[in-house]
Amino acid sequence: MLAAQQRPRLIDERGLRTDGRRPDELRPIRIELGVLKNADGSAIFEMGNTKVIAAVYGPKEMHPRHMALPDRTVLRVRYHMTPFSTDERKNPAPSRREIELSKVIREALESAILTELFPRATIDVFMEVLQADAGTRLVSLMAASMALADAGIPMRDLIAGVAVGKADGVLVLDLNEAEDMWGGADMPIAMMPSLNKVVLFQLNGTMTPEELRQALELAKKGIAEIYQLEKKAIKEKFVEVS
C-alpha cells in the first residue's frame, strides 16, 4: 500500500515541470507499426513511459450471427492493463475503469472507422497497456488507430490525442504521472485532426469555463504535433522523437 505522500511541487521557479518540460511540451514519442505477425494490423505507441501495444483482427464475419448488425460493422474493443504495468500489481480481472475506458475508446473508434462499409462483419481491437505513466487511454486509442491503418481498414482520419491538466494552477500539455495524481484537472481529448472533429473528450478535476477554452487551444496544438509524427510513422513504419 502506498504510504501517504507529500504533495510535491509541480512547477518550479523556472516554470518547468517535474520532468523538466515546459508547460506546452510533449513527452518523447515512439511509434512502430506491423509488430505482430498474426494480427491483420498492429502497432506499439509510446509517450514518455506510457507504452501500449494494439492489435486488430478483421473485418471478418461475425459469430454469433445474431449479434451482427445489418448495416454496419460491430466493433469489439478491449482496453486492458497488464498486472506489471503499474507500480503496484494490478489485478488482471477487468476493473470498472477498464470497462469504462473500453467503452469510451470504442465510441471514439466508431466515429473514425467507416463501419458502413462492412455490414454483418466484425473488427476486433485489442489494446494492452505494458507500461502505465499517465495518458494510457489516449496512447491506447492512438495505438489502435495506427494498428487499424496498418491493417488497411478504411477510416475517416488517423486519431491523435493528448491530456491537458492543471499543475499548480498552470495549464500543462501531456500530463505525466505526478501531474495526473496531484494536479487540479485531467482533460483527455482526441481528434481526427484533418476534419477538426473531436472523438474522445472527458474532464475530471475542476476548471473554470475560461480555463476550459484555453485548455482546448493548448490541446489543439499538441494534437497537431502528434498527428505529423503519426503520418510520418505510417510512411516509414517507424518513428521516434525524443
Binding site: 469489439r76 470504442r106 477538426n196
Partner: protein
C-alpha cells in the same frame, strides 16, 4: 470487452426522425420544449424509509431512485482523515424492455463513474466530515442509484438523485470512548453534502443541440456531451459519449448552453426543493 450493440433496439422511424429535425429547424422539439429546456423535475426526499437518505427523482418520464447507506469502516491507509464514498448505478431490467438482469454493464459503470467523479472532484461530498476517530474510524457512504424507468438522459437524473439522497442523509450521533465507538439511534443534523452538483447533458442531432434529450432524441443523436457544475459555476466533470464526433469549436458553444441551464437547475433545486 466493449461491443457495438443495438441494445436499445429503438428504431425511430425515418418519418419521426425527419419531423424531429424539421421541428428543430423551427426552434422547437416534439414535446414542445425549447432546445435549452430540461423536462419537468420532481424530487421526493426520504422515499425509501430504511435508507439513511433517499430520493425518488422524475425527469420527464425517466425515473431514478437513489438510496444511501452509512457503514462504519477503517479509512484507507493513504487517506486517514477522510471517509469513503462509493457510487453504484444499476440499469434495472424493470426500466426498459430489452434490459437483462446481471452485473452492471459498461453503460451502468460509465454512469456510476461519471456521477462519482462529479461528487468527488467537486468536493460536494466533504469526506472529512465523515471522520469519527481520525486514522481509525470513518463513515463509508454508499450511494446506490437505481434506474427504474429508462426514458432518456438517465445521466442527469442519476446525478440529481444521488445529490438529493446525500442531502437527505443525516449522520448518526456517536459516543466515542477512547477507541470504542457507540452508534446511537438519534441523528445529528449534519449532512455529508457540502453543496449540490448538477450534470447537464447536451445531445447533438445533426447541426442542432438539445439539452436533456428524451429517449427518441437520444436514439437519433450523433453524440452527447455531459458537463457537471458546482453552484459557483466551476466545471467539475465532462464526458462525451456515443459514437459520433463533434467539431472542436462546437464544444465552447455547447458549454455556454449547459452552463445557463445549470444555473436554472440550481435555482430550482434551491427554491423548490430546498437543496442548496
Amino acid at each position: 470487452m466493449s461491443v457495438t450493440s443495438d441494445r436499445l433496439q429503438t428504431i425511430v422511424s425515418n418519418v419521426k426522425k425527419a419531423s424531429i429535425l424539421k421541428a428543430l429547424e423551427r426552434g422547437v422539439r416534439l414535446d414542445n420544449r425549447k432546445p435549452d429546456e430540461y423536462r419537468p423535475l420532481s424530487i421526493t426526499l426520504g422515499y425509501a424509509k430504511k435508507a439513511d437518505g433517499s430520493a425518488l427523482v422524475k425527469l420527464g418520464d425517466t425515473m431514478v431512485l437513489a438510496g444511501t447507506k452509512l457503514e462504519m469502516d477503517e479509512p484507507f491507509p493513504d487517506t486517514p482523515n477522510q471517509g469513503n464514498l462509493m457510487v453504484n448505478v444499476e440499469l434495472l431490467p424493470l426500466a426498459y424492455e430489452t434490459f437483462e438482469p446481471g452485473p452492471p454493464d459498461e453503460n451502468a459503470i460509465e454512469l456510476a463513474r461519471v456521477v462519482d467523479r462529479s461528487l468527488r472532484d467537486s468536493k460536494a461530498v466533504d469526506l472529512s466530515k465523515l471522520v469519527i476517530i481520525p486514522g481509525k474510524k470513518v463513515w463509508s457512504l454508499w450511494v446506490d442509484v437505481y434506474v427504474l424507468d429508462f426514458a432518456g438522459n438517465v445521466m442527469d437524473a442519476s446525478t440529481i438523485a444521488a445529490v438529493a439522497a446525500i442531502y437527505n442523509t443525516k449522520l448518526p450521533k456517536v459516543e466515542v470512548n477512547g477507541e470504542e465507538v457507540k452508534v446511537l439511534t438519534e441523528r445529528t443534523d449534519v449532512t455529508p453534502l457540502a453543496y449540490p452538483v448538477v450534470t447537464l447533458t447536451a445531445a447533438k442531432i445533426g447541426n442542432f443541440v438539445v439539452i436533456d434529450p428524451n429517449l427518441e432524441e437520444e436514439s437519433i443523436a450523433d453524440a452527447k456531451l455531459s458537463i457537471s457544475y458546482t453552484p459557483d459555476m466551476r466545471i467539475v466533470g465532462i464526458q462525451k459519449s456515443l459514437g459520433g464526433a463533434m467539431k472542436l469549436e462546437e464544444i465552447p458553444q455547447i458549454e455556454e448552453v449547459t452552463r445557463k441551464a445549470a444555473s436554472r437547475l440550481f435555482s430550482e433545486l434551491k427554491n423548490t426543493f430546498g437543496i442548496a
